[in-house]
């Protein structure tokens, strides 16, 4: 079982790796669409979360993830059953 904070760190690291973005500049409130350099890169990030966490996210939920916090909350709740 992972803690919420561990999931936050993982999500931020995945984004930093995927977008080649400084980790320290990624905040929970950061808009993932702004961090991505283009729409395909953003699409790829969402796929990489599914791959990394080995879970199939509902399409309706995925397209509503706008911030790092949205992604973290979704993964924490749906993969690990934890809340903030």
């Amino acid at each position: 079982m992972k803690s919420y904070d561990e999931i936050v760190s993982e999500v931020k690291e995945l984004i930093a790796l995927k977008f080649n973005f400084p980790l320290e500049e990624i905040q929970p409130s950061s808009n993932i669409s702004t961090l991505a350099k283009d729409s395909i890169q953003l699409f790829e990030l969402l796929l990489s979360f599914e791959q990394y966490y080995q879970m199939e996210a509902a399409y309706e939920d995925v397209v509503q993830m706008h911030t790092v916090e949205d992604v973290t909350k979704y993964l924490a709740k749906n993969k690990y059953g934890v809340t903030q």
């Binding site: 729409s39 953003l42 790829e44 397209v63």
Partner: protein
Amino acid sequence: MIQYKIATTVTEKESAISLVKGVYVREGYLKSASDDVASISDYINLPEAVTVLAQEGDFLGGTITMVLDSSGGLPMDIIYRAELSEFRSGGHKLAEVCQFAVDWDLHDDGASKHSNPEVSLGLLSHVIHSAIRCDVTHLCFTINPKHAGFYQSMGCVQIGGEKEYPLVNSAPALAFMLDLKAIVGSINEGVMPKFSLIKKMYDFKPAESFFDKLSN
């Protein structure tokens, strides 16, 4: 609500060209909006082109174009003619997807309930279904290598190695191809793509009225 339509009027095509130029300048594929080395307007205005628009009200937030193969060739023939010739000689009907640009986040300062991935997925889905309606067997893409993973997850395979692409400010490019018959066949047999977003892309059924303006 996002509406998808095929651009038919001069105004619609000019709006699509303007959107593509804006996004390409931002992403470094064009030096400036006046630098039309990419011949964006040439491709969108081709009689063999099908340009799909994603709109919400009057706001145009995404566009994608499919160019059907003809005696004039495809845009990617500039660097991948040899790679395509193998498929042409095999009797396949080719088309190329190009001028793909999404900027939905500008909409109402992000107030729309829709998002860039949703619009990207919708546009790709509409272009895939348009290709199927036009009896295209293989859909081609000239992509930036950084996007290879995404296109592979769609079921595309690489058919050409990395080259400089003069049409996009000499950015690096790879040639990818989607065998539509194979992908539709495997989905019909219950072999679904791995990711939910990709599943949705193939699952998505455009409204029948969308195809009214599609001339085969």
